[in-house]
Symmetry: C2
Subunit: 490 residues, 2 copies
Amino acid sequence: MSAYVTLERRFKRLADLGGAAAVLNWDQAVMMPKGGNAARGEQLAALGGLVHEILTAPQTGDLIEAAAAEPLDAWQGANLALVRRRFDRATALPQELVEATARATNACEMTWREARAASDYAALRPKLEEVLRLTREAASLQGAKLGLEPYPALLDGFQPGLDEATIDRLFAPLQERLPGLIDDALARQGRALEPEGPFPVALQKQLAKELMARLGFDFDHGRLDESTHPFCGGTPTDIRITTRYDEAEIVSAIMGVMHETGHALYEAGLPEPWRHQPVGEAHGMAIHESQSLLIEMQACRSPAFLGFLAARLAETFGQQPALAPDNLIRHYRTVQKGLIRVDADELTYPLHIVLRYRLEKALVTGDLDLHDLPAAWNDGMQELLGIRPPDDRQGCLQDIHWPVGAFGYFPNYTLGALLAAQLFRAAEAAIPDLLAHIARGDFEPLLAWLRTHVHEKASSLPLQGLIQEATGAELGTEAFLAHVGERYAR
Amino acid sequence: MSAYVTLERRFKRLADLGGAAAVLNWDQAVMMPKGGNAARGEQLAALGGLVHEILTAPQTGDLIEAAAAEPLDAWQGANLALVRRRFDRATALPQELVEATARATNACEMTWREARAASDYAALRPKLEEVLRLTREAASLQGAKLGLEPYPALLDGFQPGLDEATIDRLFAPLQERLPGLIDDALARQGRALEPEGPFPVALQKQLAKELMARLGFDFDHGRLDESTHPFCGGTPTDIRITTRYDEAEIVSAIMGVMHETGHALYEAGLPEPWRHQPVGEAHGMAIHESQSLLIEMQACRSPAFLGFLAARLAETFGQQPALAPDNLIRHYRTVQKGLIRVDADELTYPLHIVLRYRLEKALVTGDLDLHDLPAAWNDGMQELLGIRPPDDRQGCLQDIHWPVGAFGYFPNYTLGALLAAQLFRAAEAAIPDLLAHIARGDFEPLLAWLRTHVHEKASSLPLQGLIQEATGAELGTEAFLAHVGERYAR
């Protein structure tokens, strides 16, 4: 057996263990009684420890070197590069640092839950100091191995190939143009009627499943369940998405399901023969977010689809003026300068991300001290959105990302939004009657295009190569700004 | 760190991986969409392979030898003996035999499902030949290591410490006495009214959960769900039992849940500090079955509890003559000479087991050829129960055990029934008003007694030592025969 094939077997085993962990994580969030928490933590730690041991074993390194001398086709070559990257990232970190980070992020997350509820930043800071210290250390070590500065090494961990220059190039025009667009939208927008419930959970579930199926979700290979925080988990042939139901609300709930379905379709569309190798996995968080935002923001919030949705809502829950197409469109376009990222609309959301990008970069480089974070946050909100958090709960304590050590994650949300717009524009150009299909609740042509140009590419191309091949251009802000200009400013 | 402590860490890891597999198995039966089957098989195979590698690694053997020279307390010593036994059983089998067995049982199980439906023994035989051949080979190898003949090595795999002489000693009086008791019961029993449904699923579920809680099941540490074949899975702090609902039926459904709850209480009661070591695990299948049958047959089918149950059934589903205590008692005592083991009553069930014990022993020793199995089965049924299967579907094709290679499992069902009677008698002697508690739906004293005398002992004592300490005598048939004599023959 060639070294390359032996290496593939090793990574197949790692993929299977990763799939097992994915199901255990889903179960923990969706099914597990609370008393099972300690045992589940131990099970996941045992799996994680084994994955780390197998990945960083000296034989893995030997196989990588030997495979590099063997004749490989393009996908095999791309796979070997990703295998090497994963090996380098993992071996860059001493076992003690990995374990210290696991302990520190775990402790910090627990403290964060209480600190946020109490709006008590001082209670969080010492724990966050420790997480930041360990994150910086890991980023230095991994960066040294990969030839990257620490913060770019973190970016590259969540989205391979993403660099600071790209983010700076893309965020500048957003920061310049969005404030004006927001003010225009605020001045023009009408007040939408609020749909009146109750919207029975059983009917919400039925409608959600119908729409998921229309989008192309295959219930022989996945489930829809409930959890406190909606997510997409599981494995490509067994995808578990979740939502939560509130009988008083339907409008944002439905879009939440559409968003997670976008993530699910990406996973389901990954190329079957490569499903258990790094090259066959999702490309990174920016691409993943582009798929959920393309489905939610581009396809499902289009007037074309909202006409269809309005009819299905009225048939399901009974007619009311708030469910008429015009009001629904108005509802899904409401812009508001708010303090909370997860409640933000499409237009203000990128400014929440610009703030976090600035701050986390400064924290990692050492230009910003955690003592000064709340003031820097509040000043940034003032500058970018013209509003000032009255407390840290609605300011720098609102997100889980930094307490769990996910510095370098935030930019992906906005890069995903930009890419979603650019991809949708390319799909529209390739499929002339695309919106007419969507207006009938028919997503087949869109899904076929995404399968070919994004899903089936998996991780076989570099980030910019993937985008270039799919859209004919490098990632830019033009499609997104044109899209929000059309949707919000006319 | 002492060798013993290092060894404990190793087995803690194996226990965590085993716990992960238990949750994945539960998910497969209860939650997984059918398209996830292939990936789940791979995940479980990856976990199983790792467990086998860690268990059989030369370091495990070295640690066992080193630990044997260290000072150990009683539980540590018992743990080391079980660790050694597990190591010996696993290292006795070459990897190719383990893999060939996994493939053969998997193929045979699939063929069995079709062959049973078609009542086509000839279609099953070649696959079953292969499974039997591999089972005999494994039993020889393991027996050689443990100083046991092949069939006893199989028995010892499901219930450590169980031997043929014990089974022969216990089955002889059953075979002698039960036929007469069955004829008496058939002559005397009145016809029970059939409760008339529908019994709405939501109400069944609610009553089942109430009764589970009364028995001592903690829903912070477990769940009740639905699956095609009811089972008890999960881990001691997160126990998953299942049932199935049929709106037309309530009587046997409730007892099914009580039975699985008995298994669950055993797992939940295992000693916390030893939960991740072999000595802290359930003792074996005979003890496990004694716990489910004690709860179902001894406690919940007692007239004391059936009075309580009758009232709860009437309150839940409305009063009807068939739910009156007398009729319910009559219902749960109905004896019938049937062809199918899983439908058998308490009195005829052991004869189904006697038949299987005889046949599987002869198959493993080579005294019976698989060509002759159907005739031998039918002759045995004629001899033991006086009835003859009209086809193999209702004869030797009915059980899954042999097709999946579980030769040596069947005796545990009846040993469990005998032990359940003997333990319940001991509990009654220790708790004078036990039945009065049970008549009020109060199982606390019974559970406390079981915790102390069975659950918390886990695997720390040899089989006969455990029974002797709990009941003051070696395992016998007297308590069981007295119990069925009282219940069915007066």
